[in-house]
């Protein structure tokens, strides 16, 4: 496989992984954040702390545990078995699971804060205007928490693009399948191909800058438009 094609595959994969992971993070993180914001359970802070824990482990170590989890002897293998595979490791799905696990706190905490910041009144108003809990969640809580979602998405996205310890461990850096850009840069740096590494890093920065700036600006625009 030639270098250019491999690089392109890595770019595609990185974008895909970051986008899918960010979406999954929002989908999973939102209900957790909502529960943390609304529940009165005394132990909810313990749950909040647990959500932050994967961060504490070095990525390769986390990757190691994730590998065991996803591998043939873990639940991941069992799930994979249902689809005729033997392991979720070394697959795109596995990468997404690992990245999600690792970036979850970046998404949960900001969204939780956003949910808490507007207090109970807007939801009370929504209820008196016939909006059931689900309706009020979508029509009031989510739009009001927009800054939290954007922060969560930006951090989740950036962290997923940059992360490579977990990804390398779970994915194995298989070109075109699990070899993302961060792994590619890592390879360049490790093999002393610094010019290539610089260029790739520069490209990544420019790309990520564009995406993140886009998210941030879009948020402010939306804030104005929706009103």
């Amino acid at each position: 496989m030639d270098d250019g094609a491999e690089l392109w595959a890595a770019v595609r994969l990185t974008v895909e992984l970051a986008v899918v992971t960010t979406l999954v993070l929002l989908v999973i993180g939102t209900p957790i954040a909502w529960w943390l914001a609304r529940s009165r359970a005394a132990w909810k802070e313990a749950v909040a702390a647990v959500v932050a824990l994967p961060l504490v482990l070095p990525p390769t170590v986390l990757g190691f545990y994730a590998l065991i989890l996803l591998g043939p002897d873990g639940p991941g293998g069992w799930v994979a078995g249902l689809f005729g595979g033997r392991s979720l490791a070394f697959t795109f799905e596995g990468l997404v699971i690992g990245s999600v696990l690792y970036s979850l706190p970046f998404v949960v905490q900001p969204i939780r804060n956003a949910f808490e910041s507007f207090g109970p009144r807007p939801l009370e108003v929504a209820a008196t205007l016939r909006a059931g809990p689900r309706d009020a969640f979508w029509s009031v809580a989510v739009p009001l928490a927009r800054p939290g979602f954007v922060t969560g998405a930006v951090l989740g996205f950036a962290h997923t693009v940059g992360e490579f310890g977990v990804v390398l461990m779970i994915g194995g850096g298989i070109p075109g399948e699990t070899k993302v850009l961060s792994v590619a840069i890592y390879d360049y740096v490790e093999t002393l191909q610094w010019t290539k590494a610089h260029m790739l890093a520069g490209g990544m920065l420019v790309f990520a800058f564009a995406v993140i700036l886009g998210m941030l600006v879009l948020e402010k625009r939306l804030a104005r438009r929706l009103r």
């Binding site: 496989m1 390769t60 990757g63 190691f64 590998l67 065991i68 996803l70 591998g71 043939p72 033997r86 392991s87 490791a89 070394f90 390398l168 461990m169 194995g172 850096g173 298989i174 070109p175 075109g176 070899k179 390879d187 740096v189 490790e190 093999t191 002393l192 191909q193």
Partner: protein, 223 residues
């Protein structure tokens, strides 16, 4: 599919290209630290051939039934170089003995074979005690080289393969007698046992052209 130790990346790419051109087989190579690759292999990573940076893990793979017994061999032997990017700093053994540097970069002796070898060298020269406090450890040999290349450490014991194509600086090729052999073993993994391409690649790795490439990259090639 190959799992290749990161320090061998440059040479491996050339060899893979040559192999593909010669045989028409398609090769997918993953690079990583030997430890990480091995961990993945224990989790049935879809690798067929394992080119490690040490001998321990291929042997372990063999013992654990992850590799095909008897396919293990040493494909390259690393050489240590005392290197500095400053032109006149390294003059030879004396540079180490003089100890006029503030930081000496070596690879982590616990995790990297080059690191273990570097410590052996220092002990052999009888200066380990004196320089111990000035050592900085790279996780692997690549990082060790970065410490030196960025000038954060004035000098370091790095792999000869890393500076083989680098002009400038000053260097001293450490005699092999000062440390045990830094042998890198390759092994055919159980998953790849039935894969003719994998078997062919291992054979190619022993062939003349491959050995030439390996040597050119600063490795000693085992007999």
């Amino acid at each position: 599919r190959l799992a290749i130790a990161a320090n061998f990346t440059a040479a491996a790419r050339e060899i893979v290209a040559a192999f593909e051109a010669a045989t028409g087989h398609r090769v997918v190579a993953s690079f990583g630290s030997t430890g990480a690759l091995y961990t993945q292999i224990t989790q049935r990573a879809p690798y067929h051939v394992f080119l490690a940076a040490d001998q321990v893990r291929p042997a372990l793979a063999e013992r654990e039934g992850l590799a095909v017994p008897g396919t293990r061999f040493t494909y390259a032997t690393g050489r240590l170089v005392l290197f500095s990017r400053e032109p006149d700093l390294v003059t030879g053994e004396a540079t180490l003995r003089a100890g006029t540097f503030t930081k000496l970069a070596v690879a982590n002796p616990i995790t990297a074979p080059y690191g273990a070898a570097a410590v052996e060298v220092l002990r052999a020269l009888g200066i380990y005690q004196t320089v111990e406090r000035r050592l900085v450890l790279g996780t692997n040999i690549a990082q060790t080289y970065q410490f030196v290349e960025t000038g954060n450490a004035e000098l370091g014991l790095v792999a000869a393969s890393q500076v083989a194509e680098r002009a400038g600086g000053s260097r001293w090729l450490v005699p092999q007698s000062l440390h045990s052999v830094i042998a890198q073993d390759a092994v055919l993994l159980t998953i790849g046992a039935e894969n003719p391409a994998a078997v062919a690649f291992l054979a190619f790795l022993r062939s003349g052209p491959a050995r030439a490439v390996i040597a050119r990259h600063g490795y000693a090639v085992a007999e």
